[in-house]
Symmetry: C2
Subunit: 289 residues, 2 copies
């Protein structure tokens, strides 16, 4: 069973597991596991690992329209090197501070492979789910696409500093809160923009019509992409970016746009069914963890 | 750096990391990582693994005197076998139901070694910390000691059913809440009773005087122990039980005892300094993860 089938099976069993985070009793709770082999390529600093591990869960809270309160991490490593641990905690602390949350510690465990599970709790009064998009809504994305894909290329090229910079991201918690009153459906783009659109479409029972030339591709992608096809691959399919993908009536987005702390780009609109880019079906593929 | 030194270093950096769980803004948040090599010996079912992974974090909430609200798990495994995943979710769900909390899903990750990180959020108005014990307080423990040690022996003897039964435990959330108004200091016994007493003593700047014959040793220990020295080892040093160890004025414990959902045993009293059992120093050793 692959991860998507397994997650679908989980969602049938457990309420809320089909969204970015679980909402219960006014609280939002989420966890993400990252580990060396698949999530931390050579060159990733422990500071960046701390930032990114906690950031992934903060992004889930953002996707529900919640405020982030506190984060913990379970840190598994073959050995506990004080400088590495300090750097990890610094990264976790800094990403929390960036979104007005607090990193409050966690668990340590001897593990053959460097493995981190972050968990974040937040509060949410009026959660935004993946369902709720309706034909006619605009479909939008925050920030830019492809930073993580570009980071991986930079790590491969042994440009570790550049890779680490691109690998850290600001979780869109403030934007998510500002968008919550107007967004009809929302999720983060961690599986890639294309797959996110398919997931929103499936949950909302609608479709999307988008334009490739509207996608806000990060300038870092242009620096590493090998032609237009590769550029599209990195921006729309690679995934592991943590931007918000959401739908909303266009006039309502216009009304809150000035209060948003980040650029928001309209990439198309919701339709009755099908997910198409410039009239062609947009493949349902993306990052599989 | 061993785990205790690393945790101590973490505690210096991060507020709250020195206690069983972090308390912030009326919420209590905690995480624990368990994995195959050190936490799940051969014979442990996925149902038990789900129960125990989440139970460990529920126990941390109990140790703070909190109410548990919701739990998530990050589940890492080489492959996702539907029956295993279902059994894990059932175990996680059932341990939550046992303490009036809800299991609300989590994350899946391909991982070479079966690895689980549970996280639990709860609410706490008046948290109980490890500091606060004072000379003259009684020192108490809930339930019985040594079940996990006995379980390991049963797994080694290939008595998997017996091992699994002993490996599951009821997190003492209800007891923790009932004790919170009277306990002066509290933690769970996951590092073993002996080490827990040393940790309470260090945090509270006091000592303890206890009696071996008052320790509530589980009957399962008698079934596997090889003589009295081994029995003591399993009951007081092996650890990974999840009972509450706490201090309180004796008359206040007497006043709430009838309302407690579990047996509570007075094993001695707090003194000025030193941790002694029957007049002999009690070694500060126990479970290291």
């Amino acid at each position: 069973m692959d991860e998507r089938s397994a997650l679908a099976a989980l969602a049938e069993t457990v309420g809320g597991a089909g969204d970015d985070a679980a909402v219960i009793d006014g609280l939002v709770l989420t966890t993400d596991m990252l580990h060396e082999r698949t999530d931390f390529p050579a060159g990733v600093s422990r500071y960046t690992a701390g930032w990114r591990s906690i950031g992934a869960s903060l992004s889930d809270v953002a996707a529900m329209g919640g405020a982030a309160t506190a984060a913990v991490a379970a840190y598994g490593a073959p050995e506990f090197v004080p400088e590495e641990l300090d750097a990890f905690v610094d990264g976790a602390t800094d990403v929390c501070e960036a979104v007005d949350a607090r990193y409050v510690g966690g668990d340590l465990d001897h593990h053959d492979e460097f493995t981190v599970a972050g968990a974040v709790v937040g509060r949410v009064d009026d959660p935004v789910y993946r369902h709720g998009a309706a034909p006619g809504d605009g479909v939008y994305v925050t920030g830019t696409l492809g930073r993580t894909a570009a980071a991986i290329r930079e790590f491969e090229a042994e440009n570790a500093d550049r890779g680490n910079t691109l690998f850290r991201f600001e979780p869109r918690v403030a934007a998510g809160r500002a968008l919550a009153p107007v967004a009809t459906a929302m999720m983060d783009s961690s599986d890639g923009l294309a797959r996110s659109l398919h997931q929103l479409a499936a949950a909302s029972d609608c479709g999307f019509e988008v334009s490739w030339d509207r996608f806000p591709v990060d300038s870092s992608v242009d620096a590493v992409a090998d032609g237009e096809a590769d550029r599209r691959e990195l921006a729309a399919f690679f995934g592991e970016d943590f931007e918000l993908v959401f739908t909303a009536p266009d006039e309502e987005v216009a009304a809150v746009r000035a209060s948003l702390p980040v650029q928001v780009t309209r990439i198309g609109r919701a339709i009755e069914d099908g997910v198409v880019a410039d009239g062609e079906p947009l493949p349902d593929r993306g990052y599989s963890h």
